[in-house]
Amino acid sequence: MNKHEPAGRKLDLRNGRVELSHGSGGRAMARLIGEIFHAAFDNEWLAAGNDQAAFDIPAGRMAMTTDGYVVSPLFFPGGDIGKLAVHGTINDIAMAGARPLHMSASFIIEEGFPLAELKLIAESMGEASRAAGVAIVTGDTKVVERGKADGVFISTSCVGIIPAGLALSGDKARPGDVVLLSGSIGDHGVAVMSKRENLSFDTEVLSDTAALHELVAAMVETAGGAIRLMRDPTRGGVAATLNEIAHQSRVGVRIDEKAIPIAPQVAAACELLGLDPLHVANEGKLLAVVAHEAADALLATMRAHPLGAQAARIGEIVADEHCFVQMTTAFGGGRIIDWLSGEQLPRIC
């Protein structure tokens, strides 16, 4: 990205649309980057105007992650693609127990996309990154012909620092460990679905999109050594994440349906749509597998944080060579929690 102000008229941010020239490396691109992205992200690294950001890092282990965002619709109750692109990638870093440092953002924009909407998305990203204290320090912009993308696709990457002594990993769950969930499930998926064409329904459900690194930091401070692993249950929901954990650690998981927090509106929407809320995506929740003896302290820490106010102990890790995730239903019977088969809803994040 380039900081130098090019000659010529300013962008028409009210009625203008993205044109192919906005991605061609010329003056138009410099305008777009300057007036939309630099304005929204506003930090010293970006302002330096180099092809890369240079920064010092503290000693220790680093974590790095990348994620693409193609959510449809771009704006949904409680968030938008920009916010999601910041939170989702920060969360992937946070799930290592790491402190996110800086992030990058790359945009693939469809020709004809309204500049006003692009500005809204960029501002939303800027806001989210400032609130999280994770600057977007470098980026890229490409424009593709109309019909070759759908509005805008965003890819973000993030690096973070892992506190000394911490080594969370999906293969560390052991029988006797406790499964904690930071809050109610299914909000993001239902919020996005409520605005889908052919499916739209009125609901007050808001996406739970949020950056979880501060909640994680609090947990690490309380009992970092007792945390075996953390995961954010996004696509495929809590069901997919628990199955991943079971398979990676070669253990079984037993959960209690009654212990899983879910908002009544989300439960109602899932009922109506025939969805299992355990398969519905979340964007601001985490699952933690922790040592039994530290579970109460960690749960208390989670509940003391606004993003973990509804945190709950939902189950435990058991020995099981079949790696089943089993649930005692509120009805009193038992059943498996399986991965989602096929595609519940494309482009949820």
Binding site: N198, T329, A330, F331, G332, R335, D338, G342
Partner: protein
């Protein structure tokens, strides 16, 4: 959730389960077929079998429209969708159903066929209106519950003067299939039926009368909530114990004796019986399916386009047929969980959300090992 939670109450479930355990006579076997996939699903999802004594066995019936559709009809749909001018609209359930040669609607879509997933018949009508240059074919499938919405779509298309909308009709009838199950001499003992929920809201309880009079089998029509199913089982146990074989209605909050007259009339106006229709697993069953009446021929994809169903054979190792007849259980199939999973289905019972293999795979497959452990210890 009001009107839902009260039918899933764990305390009530325990109370009914205790009654069932107390009343079921230990020297007797109770084999009940739940006809509908919706019941099979509820049984698996809520773990109802865990609440029943061992001498009550639930046999999963063929009430899953996707499962009983013969493969040849999926092949037809794929051929229709392959036509340049056709947009095929379908419920998502059908997308992954195996077709001949390892194909499926999902694969045909990836190959470029214009196949769109819709949530209702009205979505298909909307597409036909919006894209008049396309021939929109709705893949109509289902029991008596989904026939009225298809009838509504035909009515609407007629009213709007749509010349680019038609349906590929695969609507089938529940009582005909129940009768076929009882008529098949295959050694499956069924003492009674948990009768259809949603289907019965349309057709009422009267059409089941012949099962009590001619076949001496009790039928208890039950809702799809888990407490409905448990209560129906208790009612069936009582009928058996008392030597009764009546058509009882547990689902009184939605089902009447005569059903939904308006829906029945509208369906009768637009559809007529087919002489016979092939059911996967059950074979040709006379008067078991519907087609459009002559007056509505213009909306019939089978008349608008050349559709000549060719016989197609399921994988010979696939046991869907025996499972649909209640002769085998999903875990009895050699392919189950090995070659056949929801991701790589060999038979439609593994794909459909109402299929018993899918229900068993998604919710109940741990029982297989539980039983092994029990046997071993």
């Amino acid at each position: 959730m009001k009107h839902v939670d009260e039918y899933r109450d764990g305390d009530l479930a325990r109370a009914i389960a205790q009654r069932i355990a107390a009343e079921a006579q230990s020297d007797r076997q109770y084999r009940f077929m739940e006809f509908c996939g919706g019941h099979t699903h509820a049984i698996s999802r809520y773990g109802i079998e865990d609440l029943l004594p061992e001498n009550i066995r639930l046999i999963h019936g063929p009430g899953c429209p996707v499962c009983v559709l013969p493969m040849g009809r999926i092949d037809d749909a794929i051929r229709l969708a392959a036509r340049e001018e056709v947009t095929l609209c379908t419920y998502a359930d059908l997308m992954r159903v195996p077709a001949s040669g390892g194909s499926s609607l999902m694969k045909a879509k990836a190959d470029g066929a214009d196949i769109r997933m819709v949530y209702s018949t009205l979505d298909a009508i909307a597409i036909a209106e919006k894209e008049p240059q396309r021939q929109v074919v709705f893949f109509a499938i289902g029991f008596e519950t989904t026939t009225p919405p298809t009838a509504l779509a035909i009515r609407l298309a007629q009213k709007k003067g749509l010349t680019n909308f038609s349906i590929f009709c695969n609507h089938v009838l529940t009582p005909a299939a129940m009768q076929a199950i009882l008529d098949t001499d295959d050694g499956v003992e069924i003492e009674g039926f948990v009768g259809p929920a949603h289907v019965s809201t349309v057709i009422g309880s009267a059409p089941y009368r012949r099962f009590s009079t001619d076949y001496r089998k009790p039928v208890v029509i039950a809702g799809f909530e888990p407490l409905d199913v448990l209560q129906a089982i208790l009612m069936l146990v009582r009928q058996i114990n008392e030597g009764r074989c009546e058509i009882e209605n547990q689902y009184r909050r939605a089902v009447t004796e005569s059903g939904n007259a308006k829906a029945i009339d509208e369906v009768a106006e637009i559809f007529e019986l087919r002489e016979a229709f092939e059911w996967r697993g059950l074979g040709e069953i006379p008067h078991s399916a519907l087609k459009l009446r002559e007056a509505y021929a213009e909306f019939d994809a089978e008349r608008r386009f050349p559709v000549a169903t060719k016989p197609a054979r399921d994988n010979p190792a696939c046991e869907c047929g025996a499972i649909l007849r209640g002769q085998k259980r999903p875990q009895d199939c050699k392919l189950f969980g090995v070659a056949c999973t929801p991701e790589t289905p060999m038979g439609s019972c593994m794909v459909s959300s109402e299929g018993s293999c899918a229900a068993y795979w998604a919710y109940g497959r741990f029982r297989q090992y539980q039983n092994e452990t029990r046997k071993a210890s």
